[in-house]
């Protein structure tokens, strides 16, 4: 009876794990990088490196308000993001279908800093949330594969139930390749179990209303997203600075995240970083005279529970250390799933070697495991190589990312079909090594003319991570050679 259950669960884990895993590696890698989306955006706007850390002034905010007003008169729907510890500039943002983009302003006087336009880290956020396929189909697919991951976790626990605790820290790198990959998959899977279950469950619940609109409480749709309202009424509004001070008196100093402009109210929203429970609490002001209309707080009960779940998942309240912890756990989770995909192709190579189906499975595994980091590094390279003043350059950067990823897939298909899949792994690992190890050099060279000042900042962190991934890829390709 027990063996029948294990066999059934084995089949379920293999197939649900592989099909979902191909998407989940993308979702997990995207989410891992999105943990530092703001910092990646800053890296991709090197003009900001020159800007000294300065607090927001009343003059700066009022000047930014005037620029927002000018855009509203042109019937553009924008909102204003206030400076924070992670992003010390004012930003006038609009949603371009994938990311919030717009000019960055100096918090001291509200002047335009003329930064290059980029989707930055939000490309990874969109990839994580909706696979860059929009809020309907993209979200639905990520939701379904999220449920698939929970099924795979449960079936995996049943399969390995007896050995879960004894083999918790067992890894035998010298064992046969299949056994070593299984050890790595199991060890990472079990040790990361609390994180994986928490992050998947909260992610599924956050976007559940999109898949099941009948249980929507108004948080799942696009209605609550800033930047989507139409600018029906572009009548001039009162100066923002006095409203800002009043809003800070309600939510605390530095706890205002963004300002949304609606026909009947200028709303100051509490920052997501202000508290563990992520809400859309706001203070509304009359746009005509700046008088406070009221304070709207999310009601207790299910909305509060939703806020806790969003707080756990997005962790925008977290310290830098906690975000690094999420980043590391996410990266190990991605590696664990990639190991599962590799195990699948190793298993089926014995029985289906030489078939087109297996070649496709191998190419897809390669494309999500190595092709995605390769394309991500290429995306960072394109940011520094494409002319900063080029119109719609942010879309061009995104095209470079997807083109590189497509090339990695085609390369994998070609090599797999000719029986040279190991060569494909090595070549793509070499590509990652070259792009990763070369990125710090590119950063130094491309910032030399503007603002290169070495220090412990986002530039060093991104460069160090890219270099580390490059070194890891070098080691990986040498292991493939050694294993031959």
């Amino acid at each position: 009876m027990r063996d029948i259950l294990r066999n059934r669960m084995g089949w379920l884990h293999t197939w649900v794990g592989f099909v979902s895993g191909l998407v989940l590696v993308v979702v997990f890698t995207g989410g891992t990088l999105a943990m530092f989306d703001t910092e990646i955006t800053r890296w991709m706007q090197p003009e900001l490196a020159m800007l000294p850390q300065a607090p927001l002034t009343a003059e700066g905010l009022n000047h930014a308000g005037e620029q927002v007003q000018a855009l509203r008169e042109k019937e553009q729907t924008v909102f204003l993001a206030l400076p924070s510890v992670r992003d010390p500039v004012l930003r006038i943002l609009h949603y371009d279908g994938h990311a919030f983009v717009g000019p960055a302003l100096d918090p001291r006087d509200g002047t335009d800093l003329n930064v290059r336009q980029t989707q930055g880290g939000q490309l990874f956020f969109d990839l994580h949330q909706s696979l860059y396929r929009g809020p309907v189909w993209g979200n639905m697919v990520t939701e379904v594969v999220g449920i698939g991951l929970l099924v795979a976790v449960l079936s995996g626990l049943i399969i390995h139930f007896r050995n879960l605790v004894p083999d918790l820290v067992l890894f035998r790198p010298f064992a046969a390749p299949g056994r070593a990959w299984l050890d790595a998959h199991l060890m990472a899977g079990v040790l990361m179990l609390p994180f994986i279950v928490m992050i998947t469950y909260t992610g599924v619940v956050i976007h559940g209303p999109r898949l099941f609109p009948m249980i929507s409480n108004g948080h799942g749709g696009k209605a609550g997203r800033p930047g989507h309202d139409r600018a029906h009424d572009a009548a001039p509004f009162a100066p923002l600075a006095p409203m800002w001070k009043q809003a800070e008196a309600v939510f605390g100093e530095g706890n205002i995240g963004f300002i949304r402009f609606e026909p009947r109210a200028v709303s100051f929203y509490r920052s997501d970083a202000a508290d563990f429970v992520m809400t859309r609490d706001r203070v509304d002001f009359s746009p005509r005279d700046g008088q406070q209309i009221g304070v709207k707080r999310d009601e207790r009960g299910d909305q509060s529970l939703g806020g806790i779940i969003r707080g756990l998942h997005y962790v925008r309240w977290g310290t830098l250390g906690l975000r690094w912890l999420y980043f590391i756990c996410g990266a190990i989770g991605s590696a664990m799933m990639s190991a599962g995909l590799v195990l699948f192709v190793i298993k089926y190579r014995r029985t289906h070697g030489g078939t087109v189906r297996l070649a496709l499975a191998e190419a897809l595994t390669l494309a999500v495991t190595l092709g995605l980091p390769l394309a991500s590094l290429g995306f960072l390279w394109s940011n520094r190589l494409i002319d900063p003043s080029l119109a719609h350059r942010e879309l061009l950067e995104a095209k470079v990312f997807f083109l590189l990823w497509l090339c990695a897939l085609l390369h994998g298909v070609l090599r797999s079909c000719t029986g040279l899949v190991r060569t494909a792994w090595r070549e793509q690992a070499w590509g990652i090594a070259a792009l990763g190890c070369g990125l710090p050099l590119l950063d130094v060279v491309s910032r030399r003319a503007t603002a290169f000042t070495p220090g412990l900042d986002v530039y060093l962190a991104v460069d160090a991570c890219a270099f580390g991934i490059g070194i890891l890829a070098l080691w990986g390709q040498s292991m493939i050679v050694h294993d031959r």
Binding site: L168, V169, L191, F195, L325
Partner: protein
């Protein structure tokens, strides 16, 4: 500092857990001389990590404790793997 102490506690606790497993003992070529001590440490160190983490506000404390379990486990697994590779070499040469 709190995270670092919690990480060390978890790492040593899971190292003790690993050393108590017959499969790992065989890989390392060692017996289990201090079974009671290892069992005691395996029990006490995670609680010590929890006590240290509780100095942070909730839910940060809980996230930190669970996160350090994951990282500590990976470090313990890595150390045991290196040790097992080293223990294997002399046997292979012999």
């Amino acid at each position: 500092m709190i995270a670092f102490i919690a990480l060390l506690c978890w790492m040593f606790a899971l190292l003790c857990h690993g050393l108590l497993q017959p499969k790992i003992q065989r890989l390392l070529g060692v017996g289990c001389k201090h079974r009671a001590l290892l069992q005691g440490l395996r029990l006490v160190l995670p609680l010590a990590a929890l006590a240290v983490c509780m100095r942070q506000p909730m839910p940060l404390a809980l996230l930190l404790w669970l996160g350090m379990f994951s990282l500590g486990g990976l470090m313990a697994g890595g150390m045991l793997s290196v040790a097992s590779v080293r223990a294997r070499k002399p046997r292979a040469e012999a």
